[in-house]
Subunit: 231 residues, 2 copies
């Protein structure tokens, strides 16, 4: 279903003695440690979003954070763990901030509003956290993050599906699923376009993205409701 996932040799996977200790032993962490972790994750976000996951070296992340490589490994067992933790924090923040953004399944809401609101919110989030797009889109991400991405993708599709279903009672479920997949794919492509532009052009692309989604969905909904908000 998804693009080529590369789990490549080069992730020198070594079982370390740290892993054994951290099995079920929550390490007593000082405030300084928590600060370092936040600092490292911020640095990682910067480096990841500017070079991608694979090309980002742990030394570069440590340098960006102003610490030594050894310090980095004091808090993360390996490179992948950094990306996973960062991804999880971003996912959590997104869910907290926009958790219910995609689930106003009230069929009274005009489709236009639902689409516009969802697009605006998600674009806003991605604008504020460029690393999120990098982690969830890169073709070079390791297995674990890919799972997270797939989970997020599935959630998105499911939400769109449930958002669509009340509008489309006569359509087979398989068709609705496919339609949802198309919507998400088009949203992602539009997001890329939006993130790559600035200022007025960016806003214009946001409008175009909404147009694409709306016009794609309108004919389906039109069977049931008169197209657009009726005066």
């Amino acid at each position: 279903m998804f693009v080529n996932r590369v789990r490549k040799a080069g992730d020198n996977r070594v079982a370390t003695n740290q892993e054994k200790q951290e099995k079920e032993q929550p390490r007593r962490r000082q405030a300084r440690g928590e600060r370092r972790i936040a600092q490292l994750l911020e640095a990682a976000a910067t480096v990841f979003s500017s070079t991608g996951y694979t090309a980002a070296s742990t030394n570069a992340i440590a340098r960006e954070a102003g610490v030594s490589p050894g310090t980095l490994y004091q808090f993360f067992p390996n490179k992948e763990a950094i990306a996973i933790e960062l991804g999880e924090r971003l996912m959590r923040e997104m869910r907290e901030t926009y958790g219910e953004a995609l689930a106003p399944v009230d069929p009274a809401t005009p489709l236009e509003e639902a689409v516009a609101a969802a697009v605006d919110r998600f674009i806003d989030f991605n604008r504020r956290h460029p690393a999120f797009f990098t982690l969830m889109h890169g073709p070079d991400i390791p297995g674990r993050i890919a799972e997270e991405h797939d989970a997020l993708h599935a959630t998105l599709v499911a939400r769109v599906e449930s958002l669509l279903t009340p509008f489309l009672p006569d359509i087979p479920a398989a068709d609705i699923t496919r339609t949802a997949h198309v919507c998400v794919a088009m949203y992602k492509a539009g997001l890329e376009l939006v993130l790559a532009s600035e200022g007025a052009e960016r806003d214009a692309y946001v409008q175009e993205l909404k147009k694409v989604l709306l016009r794609y969905l309108q004919p389906l909904v039109g069977d049931r409701l008169a197209a657009g908000p009726t005066p």
Copy 2:
């Protein structure tokens, strides 16, 4: 004294020895060499499309082609050159096969047909050459291929623009350009969806992609048809 010298040990990056060689002295190549090159490029296409550019090792390409690493470097100065040559050959084939596919600027052609034909042709090409998508889409591609990609992208956008323009005489050029960018972006997203599925599902996605593009463009064209020919 044999051929290529230069290249001190430790100069792991850029190849400067090619300039002298290929400047005005095309290497006399035997039929066997041409065969090897084709063989290596085919192997590279396989490896690239299955693992991506960065993760693909030159040794893996050589192994896939059934030759030694040294033999590979007999014909290509470095890894990037392999991708560049492969990209150029694919681009050339695409231009030869579908060169004029996107330029039937006959305004009499219904938009629906134009869109459907273009989509079908390009999808067919990408189905037959999976490496093309990998090379032109990967975020991990080196500078030179990125240039190629940008050139192709610009060409695509320009073609779509010129295809659109006769339908939309009243729209500002900037808007048409933006619309073309959106079309190409949506096409790429749809292509990804199509390439990731198979059989009937694949065909269904092709249909959906056409719908997306058509419905996005229809209102623009519709304005014109409704208003009649402009004086």
